[in-house]
């Protein structure tokens, strides 16, 4: 190295930030602004619009005369809406619970240095890649007692086998759960697998040295360490449960009767097929409130935690 010569600086002795520097300072905000503006208009603006509509008597197309809580009275006097809420409770609990349980189970199995991981992983993941517009028919057949599993079992000689949930009013919602779990559990598996791969190996070595059997290592150490993954999975699944629409339409169309009505199908049918847009908007507002109740505390805790 030779001597270091100072580069002459041409700035005046005391100058405010130059225009370029000031631009540089606001550039990040300028870059973010379009996205944020879009979100403001197309998410929050539209939410406000929906809220407004729920106070009108809109039917086939939006009208803008306020009539108060009429749509909400109508909504809460609909047995269908209660059915939808009840179904969402059943579906939500089972769907989230089973997806997490099965996803975690497969992830743990996959994490045992499996030879064919590269083959198995896409098999568990692929349902997420397919829309129910695509797989709906196959599922309908499969669950249909006259065509699918039941018939196959009968053909194989197991005459007493019965699997008629799809057409059974009390059980139909569970077929929706089955198909839903089939679709999403692989994705949850991938999340858990990523979580497992991210755990510090030394912790496990330490536990092994402490003499903990494999089951205990998982139960006492690894699974508690996966807490953030559980949380993420819960959020992802919760919003998918609330938004589930294709799933129900493809499998049961909301039937038999209204046995598989969910808030999302309710909202769609009241807004678009039944020409009761105000009631549909009221149900959308209810759904948004439900989502907010789940998401906002999560967001709050997540964003606060990270910067301490």
């Amino acid at each position: 190295m030779t001597t270091i010569e100072p580069v002459p600086v041409v700035e005046q002795r005391r100058s405010g930030p130059s225009f370029a520097d000031r631009l540089r300072g606001t550039l990040p905000k300028i870059v973010l602004a379009p996205s944020f503006a879009i979100i403001l208009v197309f998410v929050y603006g539209f939410i406000l619009w929906t809220v407004y509509l729920s106070f009108t008597r809109s039917r086939i197309l939006p009208v803008y005369d306020l009539v108060g809580l009429d749509a909400y009275y109508r909504l809460w006097s609909q047995p269908n809406w209660y059915m939808a809420m009840k179904n969402l409770a059943i579906f939500g609990v089972l769907y989230i619970g089973l997806c997490i349980a099965i996803g975690l189970f497969i992830a743990i199995l996959m994490d045992q240095r499996i030879r064919a991981e590269g083959v198995l992983r896409p098999i568990f993941l692929y349902p997420m890649a397919l829309s129910f517009v695509v797989t709906g028919t196959a599922w309908k057949w499969f669950l249909n007692p006259g065509l699918g599993l039941e018939k196959t079992m009968h053909n194989l000689g197991w005459e007493s086998f019965k699997f008629d949930w799809l057409v059974n009013t009390d059980m139909a919602i569970y077929t929706v759960v089955i198909a839903g779990v089939w679709q999403a559990s692989g994705f949850v598996m991938a999340m858990f697998l990523a979580g497992l791969r991210g755990i510090d190996g030394e912790i496990i070595k330490a536990a092994q040295i402490d003499g903990a059997p494999t089951v205990s290592i998982y139960r006492r150490i690894i699974i508690p360490l996966l807490r953030p993954v559980f949380l993420s999975a819960f959020i992802v699944l919760a919003h998918m449960a609330i938004k589930s629409y294709d799933l129900v339409i493809a499998l049961t169309g909301g039937g038999p009767g209204n046995a598989t009505e969910l808030p999302s199908t309710f909202m769609y049918s009241y807004t678009f097929t039944r020409s009761q847009m105000a009631v549909g908007s009221a149900s959308a507002v209810m759904m948004l409130m439900g989502i907010t109740a789940i998401i906002v505390p999560y967001l709050y805790s997540e964003l606060r935690e990270k910067h301490q």
Partner: protein, 367 residues
């Protein structure tokens, strides 16, 4: 005239004031080390100099120009980061050349500069590799190369050695020192390691909670710490802090240590008059306490004290002996082959020439 001036610099982050009016000056070619415990604001100060953090108030002047509002890239500085901050997607060569490329230096000149830096740092064989393929020491060199190639007016180092193992740290430390001597670059260097500070600096700034505790050469800082904090922070093992009390008899003041057992003269570093009965703290570096036989023959005042030995720590070059008297412990640096075991009595010699006295209430040194 000083090359780098920091004038009454303040920085607030949220409601907390992280830097509370810092004043520092550094001459051209100086090696300034900012040292202090974590959270003292040293990295904040360095980032402020770099322009990576906006100031709340105060000025930063480089070579006579206020650079407060200048973008980092226009301040003509280079920075070496603790994590090295090598661009993972670029080869070593590209990493080093990146700053030149950003400045529009043409390709052949870039190659030339990279080559010269690589030669200086002996990393020519690494130029085509990516950071992930390098060892810690190699990455460190590349990070330095990235700074050197720019030939900036000021180099900023942010704890550059803390990710290296002990042996490498010493080696690289020496290299940085040599580099400074060869290039006569102006350097601001942040560390929490007081040995690095002592070995590298021409000027040390000790920081605590956003305020400058002391500015001085390594010798000044070490021998004449401005306050208890600096005294305690600099030096390992830490300076012995002995509680004492001023007694006056016959018109002369003396200090009583270890209860009433030992009375010593007021150390020569103190010129002020100490009132009778004043509580003081006498600071004495471990090397100022030794076994009686090794006491500095040129010292003007030496106190000989016998005390119980509670611990013996051989380091190879020296042996640290911890003694205890009247419930007060102190550490002495003795020669390596001293024969002593815990539980024995040992004759210590206190070289009071080196003693400094602090006011226990303000923590300041009493001159």
């Amino acid at each position: 005239m000083s090359f780098l001036q920091i004038k009454n610099l303040r920085k607030k982050i949220g409601n907390a004031e992280v830097l509370k009016g810092i004043d520092i000056e550094l001459e051209k070619g100086g090696f300034l080390v900012l040292v202090g415990p974590s959270g003292c604001g040293k990295s904040t100060l360095l980032n402020a100099i770099a322009g990576l953090l906006p100031l709340t108030s105060g000025d930063i002047v480089i070579d006579g120009h206020v650079v407060n509002d200048l973008h980092p890239s226009k301040r003509d500085i280079a920075m070496v980061f603790q994590s090295y901050a090598l661009y993972p997607n670029m080869t070593v060569e590209e990493n080093i050349a990146f700053a030149l490329e950003m400045r529009g230096v043409d390709k052949s000149a870039r190659a030339e500069a990279v080559k010269s830096v690589a030669k200086t740092l002996q990393i020519e064989h690494l130029l085509k590799r990516r950071p992930s393929q390098l060892s810690g020491g190699q990455r460190q060199r590349v990070a330095m190369g990235r700074a050197l190639v720019r030939q900036p007016r000021v180099f900023l180092f942010d704890e550059p050695l803390s990710n290296l193992d002990a042996k490498l740290r010493v080696e690289v430390r020496a290299e940085i020192k040599a580099l400074h001597q060869n290039t006569n670059a102006t350097i601001v260097y942040v560390t929490h390691d007081q040995i690095e500070a002592m070995t590298l600096a021409t000027k040390i700034v000790v920081l605590k909670e956003g305020t400058v505790q002391q500015v001085g050469t390594p010798a000044e800082i070490y021998n004449h710490p401005a306050n208890l904090f600096v005294a305690d922070f600099m030096g390992s093992p830490a300076m012995n802090m002995l509680k004492g009390k001023v007694v006056s008899s016959d018109g002369a003041s003396r200090i009583v240590l270890f209860g009433d057992d030992v009375t010593i003269a007021i150390p020569p570093s103190v010129s002020a008059a100490l009132p009778q009965g004043k509580e003081v703290i006498v600071g004495l570096r471990p090397e100022a306490i030794s076994d009686a036989g090794l006491a500095d023959p040129q010292a003007r005042s030496i106190a000989h004290i016998d005390a119980d030995v509670t611990m013996v720590e051989p380091t190879g070059s020296d042996t640290f002996v911890t003694g205890r008297l009247h419930g007060m412990s102190f550490t002495a640096r003795t020669r390596a082959d001293v024969h002593v075991a815990p539980g024995q009595k040992f004759p210590f010699a206190f070289n009071l020439d080196k003693a400094v006295v602090f006011d226990p209430e303000s923590g300041e040194r009493i001159d």
